[in-house]
Each structure stands twice: as structure tokens, then as C-alpha cells.
Amino acid sequence: MERASDDRKDSFERLAREELPRLYAIARRLVGDYAEDAVQECLLRGFERFEQLDDRDAGPAWLTRILVNCCHDRGRRRARRPQEVEYTEVEEFSLYRKIALEDPFPYSDSLHLDFLAGFGSDDVREVLLRLPDLYRTPLVLVYMYGFAAKEVGGMLDAPLGTVLARLHRGRKLFEKEMWEYAEQVGLLASGGRP
């Protein structure tokens, strides 16, 4: 009996250690400075529920789902901004067209790529953290960490159509926030960041 329990503990620890870099990176993008606490909570909840995991191959997605819930609990406590965004506010925004129109780097022959090159990982995280949780979570999980929209639907208990709609709006919001962030922190000045 004790042996079985030790095997279970070993197995959980192996899964957790393999997944820690990804879990921490996801948490940094979902809750910023609260990432450490969110991952800590995820490890505790995961350990307590590990017996419920029948298919060990599903371990990474299972642990990610727990992490997303931990992050959402933190987000609900913070509740810094309203979740819903007026569709018309963002639907017509195109970062591609905005960059072409404003032409922030007049001497560049690769204007759009230069705009993206101005953003470091920290900048991207800052922009993501400006989005409401509702849109940030699917955006991060699908486009940064390669989960399928259907898998994300399972993690969020949301139908596929809802996830796809949030991805669409999340992308638009992200593009709009990227431009506003670049203006605010001076990424558009004098040819962008060196």
C-alpha cells in the first residue's frame, strides 16, 4: 500500500517537474507577478487530485487546466477591469493598417517587422496583462503554448464556438493594445528600440 502511494508521489513529482517551466511561463502571462503563488497553488491542488487522472498522457493538459483555474481565482480576486469589451471598439482595428498608415519608421523597408522587433518578451507580457482574462487566457494558451482551441474549451468549460469568438476578439484587442503600448513606452520613437 505504501509502495503504491510512493509510486503515485513519484509520478506526480515527475510530471510536475517536467511541466514547471511551461506552467510558470503561462502563469506569468496570465497573472504577472502572482505567477509564483498561482503555480504553488496548482502544485498543491494537482497533488491532492492526482488520483483522478486516469490517462497519464493527458497529464500536461490536466495540470494546465488546474493552473488556469488557479490563475482565474487570482484574477477574480483582483478584478481590476471589466471583462466584456464592446465589439465595435475593436472589430475594425487592424495593426497592419495602423502601422502602414502611421509609418512610425520612415526609413525602414520592413516597417511591420521592425515594429514587432521593438517588443521584447517583457513588453509582450505587459501587453497581454492589459487584456481582460476572458480574452487573454485563450490567446495565451492557443497562440503561445500550442493548445488546440478545443482543448482550451475543455479547460475553460466553454463551447468551441465561444473559445473561437474570444480568440477573434482577443487578437483584435491584443493588436490594439500593442499599438497603444508602443506609443506609451516610446517604442515608436527614433526607429524603435535598438
Binding site: A25, S94, L116, Y143, Y145, L164, L167, R171
Partner: protein, 77 residues
């Protein structure tokens, strides 16, 4: 023939493979004749690459030490 704004609205879904057959065909017809929308499509591809490349994050040593301690504590329970 769909308009540029209709085409642009579907570019990410097109890259995701989540547009239906009829919409995909209309979009591809539009892209075959519209250089500006092709450029938007290329930018959408760059944005996806950019997001994927921005996904890495090192765990600071002090944070990793805390996770190590937690896992050891759980193992000793």
C-alpha cells in the same frame, strides 16, 4: 467576391484552419487578386510566429527553490 474587410476579418481563422470550405474558397479567390490582403496575411503569420517566440520564460532561482521545497514537502506527506 468578398470585400477586403471581410477577407481581413477571416485571416487568422484561415491560418487556424477553422473557416468552412465555402468561406475558405471565397477567401482564397480574394487573396489571389488582392496584394494588400496578401500582405495582411503575411503579417498575421508573422504575428503568430512572434507570439510563439515570446512564450519562453526562465524560472528565477529563488522561485525554483520554493517550488522544489513544495514538491519535496508533498512527497514527504
Amino acid at each position: 467576391m468578398i470585400s477586403c474587410s471581410q477577407a481581413v476579418r477571416q485571416l487568422w481563422e484561415y491560418l487556424d484552419g477553422t473557416v468552412g470550405d465555402v468561406d475558405r474558397e471565397r477567401l482564397e479567390q480574394h487573396l489571389s487578386r488582392c496584394r494588400r490582403c496578401c500582405a495582411e496575411l503575411e503579417f498575421a503569420q508573422e504575428m503568430r510566429r512572434f507570439l510563439a517566440e515570446s512564450a519562453r520564460e526562465e524560472i528565477p532561482d529563488d522561485v525554483m527553490a520554493r517550488f522544489d521545497a513544495t514538491l519535496e514537502e508533498l512527497h514527504d506527506r
